[in-house]
């Protein structure tokens, strides 16, 4: 989340709660909203590393709030991040390990494992369908995030079919 926060701060200084709201507004219900504690912890680390600085802003009848802004070093880190190609998705597939190693447990019905997993993926897909149908058509960020998730799931299902053909 470090770099996401840096990117938001490149636009304008903000306090923790504003950053949380900005993330929520961008991804809406398509993505789990970050927890505020996590945001403060990350900001603290960024501050320690000299990538952001904070100023205390007084508020009437409330405790002071810390407004964060990007340092030159922070901007450099952010630019580096944007400039570099991003590693492709590294799929962490626990299911595949399970499928391959299952015979060792003695309860290995690979066909049953695959069938259950397929229904699990489809149930996820059903939820994403619902989510997409509730997304405003002009909200491209949310819609594309959901479509991306759907395409990944489609690939998982195709892979499952290949596993079924060759491992059962």
């Amino acid at each position: 989340m470090r770099l996401h926060l840096l990117a938001l701060l490149a636009k304008e200084p903000a306090h923790g709660y504003e950053l949380k709201q900005a993330l929520e507004q961008t991804f809406g219900s398509a993505y789990p909203s970050p927890n505020i504690g996590q945001i403060y912890v990350t900001l603290g680390r960024l501050e320690k590393d000299g990538l952001v600085k904070a100023v205390d802003v007084e508020q009437s009848n409330r405790p002071n709030k810390k407004v964060y802004y990007l340092t030159a070093k922070g901007r450099e880190t952010l630019t580096l991040w944007v400039d570099e190609p991003t590693e492709g998705p590294r799929v962490r597939d626990e299911f595949f390990m399970k499928l391959v190693l299952a015979p060792l447990t003695g309860i290995a019905d690979r066909m049953a494992l695959i069938n259950r997993q397929r229904r699990h993926y489809l149930s996820l897909m059903g939820d994403l369908n619902d989510l997409l149908s509730r997304t405003a058509p002009d909200d491209h960020v949310q819609a594309l995030l959901i479509e991306g998730a759907m395409l990944h799931l489609q690939a998982d299902l195709d892979w499952l079919e290949r596993c079924q053909e060759d491992l059962t």
Binding site: L122, L124, L128, L131, A149
Partner: protein, 242 residues
């Protein structure tokens, strides 16, 4: 409740080649009114053969097929054809539209054959073509349409007679994502209105609309169960934005 469709140990062995091919090997399936069943499985697992038999488009080798409580596999060809017009809508893997009729007539014909009045048939056609974003193509001939457009016309045609069951074989095979969205919306709407659907598909988005998944493998059902809904999940369950 009487099931809309029921098969009892349904078998199909193709024996037109040098060696007989057992394509469907003892399928017991029961589909209740209003259910949306997705049928999935690897290529050659017997999906098309199964739905073709359900729709009376291919003969069975042995076993029984029941439609709305009536046994149909023993009917004469003509009696079966008559019943089919009334009760079954079929979308083929390769769409099968009538080439020398307009899109509008292709869609109206099945409703007329099933006994709808011309006015009813026209209204139904207008609403289906509208839902699939095809109103402007109503007067075209199928040959003038893209694959995706023909596929959508085929779906509209299959729904025109308000069938007891919609049987579809890969109805989104030729669609881009925008057109798939229209088809998904229509399917989900007719399903909400109580349309029974049995659909062969590789498209996970389409299968995700279904209530139930039947998995075929080597001509047999290897899994048959409900597709649960959690309704709380986000894209974060699949993609981790780091």
């Amino acid at each position: 409740m009487t099931p809309v469709l029921k098969t009892v140990h349904l078998v199909k062995i193709y024996s037109d080649g040098a060696v007989p091919v057992p394509a469907v090997r003892g399928v017991d399936l029961q589909v209740e009114p209003g259910e949306f069943v997705a049928v999935m499985g690897p290529s050659g697992s017997g999906k098309s053969t199964l739905v073709h038999m359900l729709g009376g488009l291919d003969s069975r080798t042995s076993g029984e097929i029941w439609l709305d409580g009536q046994r149909v596999d023993t009917l004469s060809e003509s009696a079966w054809a008559l019943l089919r017009r009334k009760k079954i809508g079929f979308v083929f893997q390769f769409f099968n539209l009538v080439g020398n009729m307009t899109v509008a007539d292709n869609v109206e014909l099945p409703a007329l054959l099933a006994g709808a009045s011309p006015k009813e048939a026209r209204e139904r056609r207008e609403s289906l073509l509208g839902a699939l974003n095809l109103t402007e193509r109503a007067d075209a001939a199928p040959g003038q349409l893209s694959g995706g457009e023909q596929q959508r016309v085929a779906l509209a045609r299959a729904l025109a007679n308000q069938p007891s069951v919609l049987l579809a074989d890969e109805p989104t095979g030729n669609l881009d994502s925008r057109n798939t969205r229209d088809v998904l919306k229509l399917l989900s709407n007719v399903h909400k209105e109580g349309q029974t659907i049995v659909m062969v598909t590789h498209d996970a988005r389409v299968a995700g609309l279904a209530d139930r998944l039947v998995s075929l493998f080597d001509g047999e059902i290897v899994d048959d169960g409900r597709i649960a809904r959690k309704r709380t999940r986000t894209a974060g369950a699949v993609i981790d934005l780091r």
